[in-house]
Amino acid sequence: MISLLDIVGPVMVGPSSSHTAGACRLSHVALALLEEDPVEARFELHSAFAKTMRGHGTDRALVAGALGMEVDDERIKDALDLARARGIAFTFKPKNMGPEAHPNSVAIHLRGRTRSISILGASIGGGMIEIREVDGFPVSLTARDPCILLFYEDRPGMVMRASEIIGRRGINIASMEVLRRGKGDQAFMRIDLDAPLPHEDVAALRQMPGVHRVHVLDRVAGGAPIT
C-alpha cells in the first residue's frame, strides 16, 4: 500500500508535485548513481513534461536535483543560477518518446569528471517517481526503499555471491531483478532490501570478481526517513 506520508506529503517547494518535486527527485537519483559532482547535465523531456516545463519550474527542479537538493529546498527556484555559478553546463530539449511513454517522462544524462550515467524516468503523481531505464537496462525502480544496483560481467555464481554477502548481514532481500545484454556480456542486478546495507558490505560487493560498478540507492525519493 502507498504510504500515508506520500499522500499527505511531500513537504515541498511548489508549484507542482509531478513537475517540480518529482522532477527534482528524478535527477537526484541520477546524481546518486553518478556518485560524483556533475560537470554537465542534459535533459530530454517528453509530452506534458516538455510542454509545461518553464511554467512548472521543471527546468529549475531538474537542475536542483542534479545539484543534490531535496524537494523542500527553497533554493530550487535559484537552481539555474547556482548551476551556472558552479560551472555546470545544462541543456533541455523536447523529445517524443512515443505513445507508450508516460507523459511526464524525462531522460537524464549526467557527466562527471570520471564517469557518466543515463537514466529514463517518469514522475507518476504526488511527487512519486519511477526509474524505467538505467544506462539502457530496463528497470523498475521507485528509489523509495533501500536498493543496490550491480553492473557486472555475466558469469555463473554472481547472484549467489551477492546474496550471500547481504544474507550474512541478516538483511532481507525484498525483491530482485537480473538482466543481461547477452550471454557473457554486461549484466545487471537490482536488489531491493528491507534495510540499508552497511558500507563494508557494499565494499565487499564491489570487490567481487567481474563486478564493474555497484550503486546504492537509499531512500533518495522519499520513503521512510522515520526511525
Binding site: I7, G55, G127, I226
Partner: protein
Amino acid sequence: MARLQTFADLIELAREGTRPLDEIFLDEEAAEREVPAERLRQTFLERWAVMKDSVRRGLAGGKSFSGLVGGDAKRVIEFTRGGDIAGGHLVAKAIAYSIAVLEENSRMGVIVAAPTAGAAGMVPGTLLALSEERGIDDAATVRGLVVAGGFGALVAARAELSGAAGGCQAEQGVGAAMAAGGLAFLLGGDSETCVHAAALTLQNTLGLACDPVAGLVEVPCVVRNGFTAMLALAGAQTALAGVRSVIPMDEVVEAMVRIGEAMPRSLKETADGGLAMTPTGCRIRNDLYQIK
C-alpha cells in the same frame, strides 16, 4: 497492508474492532514501516504545522511568478471580516485558506502536497477552518488529517494521482474527497459515513479536466481549490445527514480511472485544450513566453 486494500476492507476492519479510522490507518502504516504508530502521529503533527504555516504565508498575499494570480485568499478573508458574507465563516475560511495554500505554491513557497501540489489546498483549508470555528485542538485535528491521508492512499492504490494521467478529477477531486472524509471524521461520523462523504464528493468531480492556462498551476487551479473545498464541506454535510452514495466509493474510484483513460491528452495537463486554448488563455501564454 495485506488486509487493507479497498474502502470496503476499511469498513469491514472498522466494523469488527473498536479502533477508530485514524488508528486503523496508523497501525497499518506502522506495521508496514516497522516504526511506532505514535512516531507517525508525531510526523503528521509536524506536517500539520507546515500546512498551517502555508495558509498563513498565503494569506499575507503577493503575486505568483507569472503575476497571473495572488491576493485572492486575502480578498476573501478580508471581505469575511466585514461581516457581509454568503455561507458563513466556516465556508468563507475554507475557501480563503484553500486558495491561500495554492497561492503560496504558485510562488514556489513551501507547501505539503495533499495529494498533489496543485490540489494541496482543500485538506488543510477545510480542516483548519473547521478546527478554528469549532475550537478543535491540533492533536484532534491531526486525527482528521490522518483519515484524509488514509483515504488518499486507498485511492492511490488504484489510480495514479496526476493531472497528466487522470485530469483534475484525479488531483482536486481526490483532494476534496480526502478532505470530506477527514471533516466527517472530525464531526463524529462513523466509518461508513466518512467513506460516503468521500464518495459523494469524488463523484461530483468526475470528468474534471486539467487545462491550465499557459501550463501553470495557477488558472484555474488556485481558485478551484477554494471551490472544491466547498464540495468537501457538502460531502461531509450530506453524509452526516444520512445521504448515501448509491455507487460505492471503490466503484467511484474505478469510474474515475476509466474517465481519465477516456479523456484526450489535450485535457490532461498539456495545456492544449479547454481554458488553456481560449483566446484569452492563448494570449496570456503568448505574452508570457513571448510567442508571436
